[in-house]
Symmetry: C2
Subunit: 191 residues, 2 copies
Amino acid sequence: MNTDLILSNISKHVTLNAEEQRLLTGLLSEESVKKNTHLLREGEPCQYLYFVNSGTLRAYCLNAHGKESTVMFGISDWWITDMHCYLNQLPSMVYLQAVSSCEVLKLSFDDLNSLLEEVPAFNTFFRILMQKAYCREQLRMIENLSIPAFNRYENFIQKYPLIARQVPLKHIASYLGVTPEFLSTARSRKD
Amino acid sequence: MNTDLILSNISKHVTLNAEEQRLLTGLLSEESVKKNTHLLREGEPCQYLYFVNSGTLRAYCLNAHGKESTVMFGISDWWITDMHCYLNQLPSMVYLQAVSSCEVLKLSFDDLNSLLEEVPAFNTFFRILMQKAYCREQLRMIENLSIPAFNRYENFIQKYPLIARQVPLKHIASYLGVTPEFLSTARSRKD
DNA sequence: CGTCTATTTGAATGTACTCAAAAGCGGTGG
DNA sequence: CCACCGCTTTTGAGTACATTCAAATAGACG
């Protein structure tokens, strides 16, 4: 199991000593997901927090008419899950799908809680992770409310160039809240 | 200074002993905001995290054309600030305005950091606060993407009945991402 | 090379917007 | 207590932007 990336990810914010690192890595397990298959489906228990070692994931939900809305993407070095349902141990509201084949590490809710209790630095790390996630989501909301669709697309490819290269346009459209047709025509008009 | 509400707010998630409570309350200061005045304006340093003792606040930002977008509301027993700019000590991107006259408690960034470092339970509290804020914001985003405008309004008044009673319709419209005119006509069509 | 999916293009439609004006409502002062 | 003023909400007409649906083209993958 490759834990280099996850340890380096955590070390960007807090310092774990060797023992704490062993405690963490001992709680992780790895999973492979083939392209276009699901790691999690709506309604299933949301048991794990995932860390992406390689590949690209997408979280999406379906509305009453079956329309997909992309909630978030997860690329290498990102954390992903249905956070609300994970933290409250509720059935998932989202699908987690591999856009390309992935290697992920996963951490169960009970194991997360052990870490949060026993390793103060990990508690701090997770706080920082949530701070950043909150601010990012709030900024996304503000941009969705205040700037027109096409500028949001330009914004997106500038902010997430790696994701923009790795996922089909239609998923970006559903992340931005527009149809793929609209995004396609808007794009051809502007460049 | 009335610290009952804030201590009870925190005690919903973690337990602070008497000394920790004194440490916290010693770092707070209070401020009154008159109706329609600003606690913070775009571009000003975002120095404080606010806890609302009484009254109603609104965070909003202006886009390039001067259109207001309501980022969040803050009613009694809520925490509010421009979190991204506060945590990164950047000039504020939002305005914080009193919808009705308010009494707030405020905590500076440096003092927050002392608390996070010195009081593990407060670190945990703040983590939980950020978890909930993230999940709430993500759910808002999902709903904005996946359900039509009028249903979002019904959703809102069901989820936040207190806010719905305390703020003008136009602010709710700008929170939901529609015009007041649209919300007004939609409302009259459905009930 | 053929199949499947993604993207592009276009026409018709609809939803939500802008702009303008009227009505409602609350607070203030005469 | 009523009249006036300012702000919010409502109403309506015309418009723009993004959608749906359908079909053609392009790309990716086995």
